[in-house]
Structures are given as C-alpha cells and as structure tokens.
C-alpha cells in the first residue's frame, strides 16, 4: 500500500519542486518553463489539433515499424534458437550488424526509401528486428532441456513442437523483447522525424527548437514520454493475457 502511494506521489512531488524552483527564480524559466505554463501550452496545442495529429503520426510509425520488424524477428529467432546450422550461418551476421547505431544508417535509408513514410517504418523496423531476433533466440535456448526430452519421449509432432513447446517456452523473453522494442522504436521514430519528416512529435521538438518555442518542445517531450508509458502498459497487459502461467508478484 505504501509502495502504491509513493508510486503516485513521487512524480507529482518532482513536478511541485520544479514549479517551486522556477517561481523563486532558482531555475531559468527560458530553458525550464514551469510545469503550469507547459500545461497551458499543452491545452492550447491540443485545441489546435496539431498535438493529436503529431502524436498519431509518431504512434503509427512506431506500431507499423514494430510489426514489420518484429514478426520476422521472432520467426528467424525461433529458427536460430533450434537449428544449429541456422545459428552458425546467422549469428556472425547478426553480431556484426547489431552494434551499428541504427540512426547512423538513416541517410542510407533515406536514399533507398525516399523521404516518405516507408523510410520511417524501415528505420523502426530494423531496430526492432534485431531486438526481437536476439531475445527470441535466447528465449528458445534457455528452455529447460527436460521439456525437449518430454517432447521426444511422447513423439510430439514437429509443428506441435514449434507452436506448443518452443514458442510458449520463449514467450517470456519475447515479451521482454517487446517492451525493449517499444522504447527503441520511439527513440528511432522521434530521431528520424527530427530531420526527415514534416510531422510527428520528433518534428515538433525540432521545429520548436528552431523557432525557440521551448514550451512546445516540452509538450512534445511529455507526449513522447506518455506514448512510451501507455504502449508499455499495453505490452504488460498483453503479457498477462498471453503468459497466464507466469507466477505474478
């Protein structure tokens, strides 16, 4: 119970402290506008419809990119987890490509996909693909050998092995990957929007800097934060629905 109270109170206390130090001029309001003025700007911006459309654009890029990158990531990860030959072929390639900062290949992606939506989907998808692949493969490999023995012992069919043993066995890791992916996808979408888009929360942040509208920048930052929070909550809800066997704390 006390824990729950603190969970709610601690961010509110930080906001109150922020408001206070700005009002007594301990903090420069030009760089750190008081939360009250950010809230004012938030509603003004909400009414104009721009905030909603920018949030929607970013959300769309995050979700589409996650699906495009995540589905093949899980499929190839499963294959890499079980098949030693597939692992031998793919593991060095993944190890070489994964450390490249995804944002560093944005210019290349813009060259290939152009300035349209597909370049944003592509950069998000690439980042998510590697995370899901690595998490899924690790998930399959940490399945207790006893479960594979049981499957062999009862002559479980190959398709059943994938859908009823390997996939559920790796599901906890897959969901850990999904939560990581949400964070990475937002980072990549926002970063790509800085220079390569005329819409989205990243564009709003960049544009506010260029026009010195600091409050607007904060409004966008708050929305990015909320977007990540809500998507993570949805991820957790999905996990609870799909992993009912996991003992809950």
């Amino acid at each position: 119970m006390t824990e729950r109270v603190f969970r709610v109170v601690s961010p509110l206390a930080l906001l109150a402290l922020w408001e206070f130090v700005v009002r007594v001029h301990l903090l420069d309001a030009r760089f750190f506008p008081a939360p009250s003025s950010i809230v004012g700007e938030f509603f003004a911006f909400l009414r104009s419809g721009e905030l909603v459309s920018n949030t929607w654009m970013t959300l769309q890029r995050v979700v589409v990119g996650c699906v495009i990158g995540g589905v093949p990531g899980v499929a190839i990860g499963l294959l890499m987890g079980v098949n030693r030959l597939a692992r031998a072929i793919l593991e060095p390639i993944v190890a070489l490509l994964y450390p490249i900062p995804k944002i560093a290949i944005l210019p290349l992606i813009l060259l290939i996909f152009g300035i349209g939506e597909s370049s944003k989907y592509a950069i998000v998808a690439i980042g998510v693909f590697f995370i899901m692949l690595i998490n899924t493969a690790a998930g399959v490999r940490q399945i207790e050998p006893i479960y594979l023995d049981v499957a062999r012992s009862f002559e479980i069919r190959r398709r059943s092995l994938y859908t009823n043993v390997l996939l559920p066995g790796a599901l906890t890791n897959i969901f850990a990957g999904i939560k990581l992916s949400i964070g990475i996808a937002i980072v990549l979408a926002v970063a790509a929007e800085f220079t390569a888009a005329k819409s989205g929360l990243g564009f709003q942040i960049w544009n506010s800097w260029q026009t010195l509208q600091v409050e607007r920048m904060y409004v966008a930052l708050v929305m990015v934060s909320l977007l990540g929070y809500v998507l993570t909550l949805i991820g957790s809800a999905l996990e609870n629905a799909f992993v009912p066997w996991r003992p809950r704390q």
């Binding site: 023995d149 012992s153 009862f154 002559e155 479980i156 043993v165 066997w245 003992p247």
Partner: protein, 255 residues
Amino acid sequence: MAALPRIAIHGLRKAFASGTVALEGIDFEVGDGEFVSIVGPSGCGKTTLLRIAAGLEKATAGSVDVNAAQNRPEALPYATVFQESSLFPWMTLRENVAFAFDRLNLDSGERSRRVTAQLDLVNLTRFEDAYPHQLSGGMKQRGAVARAFAVDPQVLFMDEPFGALDEQTRVQLAGELLALWERDRKTVLFITHSIEEALALSDRIIVMTAQPGRIREIITVPFARPRDPIELRADPEFGRLTVRIWHLLRQERAS
C-alpha cells in the same frame, strides 16, 4: 516370463566424448509385466542407462531392444516419467496430459474422456485447470505419472520420479503407483536411490556400482502381490534384504 522379453539389453557400453566410461558390460532382460528397479550410488550411470533404454540417448556399443507394439493407433509403445518437474509450465494440468496424445489418432471426445479418467485415478480432478506452478511437488509428479499412463504404453520408464519429494509424500506416491500398476501390470523399469522404495515396488532389483557403472547383482524380491508398501516394512525379510543391498553398496565404496 513371456518368450520375448519386453526389454533386452546386452553388452551395453556408454562412453562420453570426454573419455569417461559411464556404463560397461550391462546385460539384463525385463519380462512382460515385470517391475524392475535399478539402485546404485549417484554417478553409477543409472539415469544414463534409463535414457538409453527410453531412446533419449545413444549407446556407444551393445544392443538395446524394447519390444513394445508400435502399431496400436490409440497408444504409444512406451512412456517416460522424469525426475524433475516435467509438466509444461504453460499448459494446465489437463492440457499437459492431453498433449501426450499429440501423436495418437484419437477423436477429441475419446481424448477428453481418457484425460478425465486418468486425472481421476491420481486424484487430481479438482486441479485439472491449475498450472504446474500452482501445484505441490507431489501433485506435479502425480500429473507426470497420469500423463505417462494416459498413453497406455506397454513399457514405462521411470527416472527417480519421487526422488525430489519428502519422505512421507514419496511413500504415499509409491503406494498409489503400485495400485495404479496393479490394474494392468505394465512392464516398468524404475530408477531410484531409495532401497526401501525399490523393495516395496519391484519384482527384481538391479544393484549397480560406479565408475564405470556395472551391474553388481540382481536380487529377486519375494514379497507377494498386491503389496502394501508400509506394512511390508514389518516383514523381517524386508529388513534382511535392505541390509543385504546396503552391504552390496558399501563393499563398492570400500573397493
């Protein structure tokens, strides 16, 4: 004993890649409907022996024949009960037992009927929709036993199925296993490190020595069936045989 033994193991040898010889010169047969236990010190290769017999590992040399009918569409030739918790954590108890039928051609009504009957036999009907993490260690092993019996195998391999349980639970489960086994007397190869458990359950006990794992002696257990694994302990012969097996295992340590 039937003309053809259910399990026939001859000249079995198992060496690991490291060069360690786990099993050497293993020879024995198990007849139809016979309950045979293997006891021995840890590291004597008894689990390896069972895994080879159950087709989960390959022998380095020698022959292993399990003569169980492959052509019964409604049953598997043999089934295994493992030591650790081997129920899939992502399936309910009921789904776990039903999953054993994956290979078999059963319509869903028959499948469901067999799962229900089997869970009832091990007194787990109330827990059929529970996930393994919600069950006690004893219930999990009852579930694993139910799963193995459900596919109606001719041969059962059991690798210390009650080894991780407390003394009272394991005596209780041994009694339940005996009652279950009495119904149709399947051929059983049973690994244990408990001499009392082996005496209570078996027709014959294979005593093994370690490094490399060899058969020291095969002891015939004289008690009449059906048995009560608790009352059996009052029999003077039970004490004599316990001491005898202890001596066989102790000599091994002295040498």
